[in-house]
Amino acid sequence: MNTGDTAWVLMSTGLVMLMTPGLAFFYGGMVRRKNVLGILMQCFIILCVLSIQWVLFGYSLAFAPGKGFWGGFSWAGLCGVGLDVYKDYAPTIPHQAFMIFQAMFAVITPALIIGAFAERMKFSAFLLFTILWATFVYDPIAHWVWGVGGWLKDLGALDFAGGTVVHINAGMGALAAALLLGKRKGYQNKPIPPHNLPHVVLGTALLWFGWFGFNAGSALAANGLAVSAFVVTNTAAATAGLTWALIEWIHNGKPTIFGTATGVVAGLVAITPAAGFVGPLSAIVIGVFVSIFCYLMVALVKPALGYDDSLDAFGVHGIGGIWGALATGLFATKVINPDGANGLFFGNPRQLLVQAAAVAVTIVYSFVATLIIAKVVDWVVGLRVGEKDEIMGLDLTQHNENAYTLLE
């Protein structure tokens, strides 16, 4: 047991927790003002509901040892998950510290999907969807990639902080949800202007800050690897933000703060699986390309295809996550992390194939399972609010509240 490591992981847990409210502002600023409370509420209730799900059975499904579909119920109610070390996950901190750190990842992943069905989903349907999705999509995939006995882990797939488990997974869930739910009323295949860009920037700042816990905390120790992950996280975020601004400057004549913030988040997404395996110069390359790919996706491909991934949960997290996972197979080096592997550019082309396999499995499973879950929820309670409620806004019709007064 190491007190420094324990302190850092607890600190990182707090940082990752703050990302979900950060995401709430990031997304909340992007919607029309009649729906901002709907977004904030969805993010906050996920913090409440999944914190409980995780303690009751989520952690057990994801991390209890086992070679099956998931980890099973042997650790349900945190039975056997105590304050001693569990060395297969984190050799120097109490098992519960690892558990609560992972809880925050389980919280933010379904919260990312909110961006795809923003401004039109019924609150009851959202709750049911989130619980089912966390249980049948997040928990199994987390087990495959990170759990003892997980088959993608045994295959040798590298995912330092959740590029596959969190971002590709949420991104594909988002795409499936957006396709099934259909477009917002009046959506003309072009963005609806965000109601509060300063909130988007505030949210981005909180995400960037929290992401240091997400990535550097994933070292699970206060050591050199944590520092390396911290440095590449900041480098990739900075590069991607700058790149997006430059693309806009060239393509549209002016750089925008909305674009720069989007680029920063895309950079953070892409470096997530690679942090802890790649060096700072690789992080710059990863950051440049993620903004190019995501920009093409959200500015050109999405409008052309005409689906309404309202806040680009797939366009940024899905695409950025896929690039990050594949880039890990290109740029990973044992110089940074002797427990990792070398990537293609360091003489090991097999790693790229392993990464691609993990990506493909996650894409297919997440997409199909999300479609099924959303369909079931649609039968049970109906996914969408009525047309009149959608026009009135989710704040008033789902929560009986108004975010902003006009007089006083």
């Binding site: 009046g186 026009i391 009135m392 009986n400 509240e401 108004n402 006009l406």
Partner: protein, 113 residues
């Protein structure tokens, strides 16, 4: 000259604007207002306390037009604004005494267009 004031549902603004452009009415002023008619307002709840009859958000459109433009302006607002639901709003048409373009000091019908 007439002053046309329309109180509409906020989400109909875009459609009304398109209809107005199609009718070559290009000069409009829009403001956000609160109100309710027969539809009555909304119910909101804050810390468990119910507040009834809160005013609904509406959009007010202000257009000054010459007499030969009145009918097509009204038609455009009706076309864009009508959903058939309660709460679609109202159009008021008022006589307009004078209109002055500040930049050129033009008066009357020339100043409007």
């Amino acid at each position: 000259m007439k002053l046309i004031i329309a109180i509409i549902k906020p989400d109909r603004l875009e459609a009304i604007k398109q209809e107005l452009y199609a009718a070559e009415v290009n000069l409009i002023t829009v403001s956000e207002v609160l109100g309710h008619g027969r539809q009555m307002g909304t119910t909101e709840v804050y810390r468990g306390v119910k507040e009834m009859g809160n005013l609904l958000r509406k959009v007010q459109i202000l257009i000054g037009v010459n007499d030969n433009f009145v009918e097509r302006t009204i038609t455009a607002i009706l076309k864009g604004g009508q959903t058939g639901e309660i709460g679609d709003g109202k159009i008021f048409v008022l006589p307009l005494e004078e209109c002055i373009r500040i930049r050129t000091e033009e008066h009357g019908p020339e100043a409007i267009g």
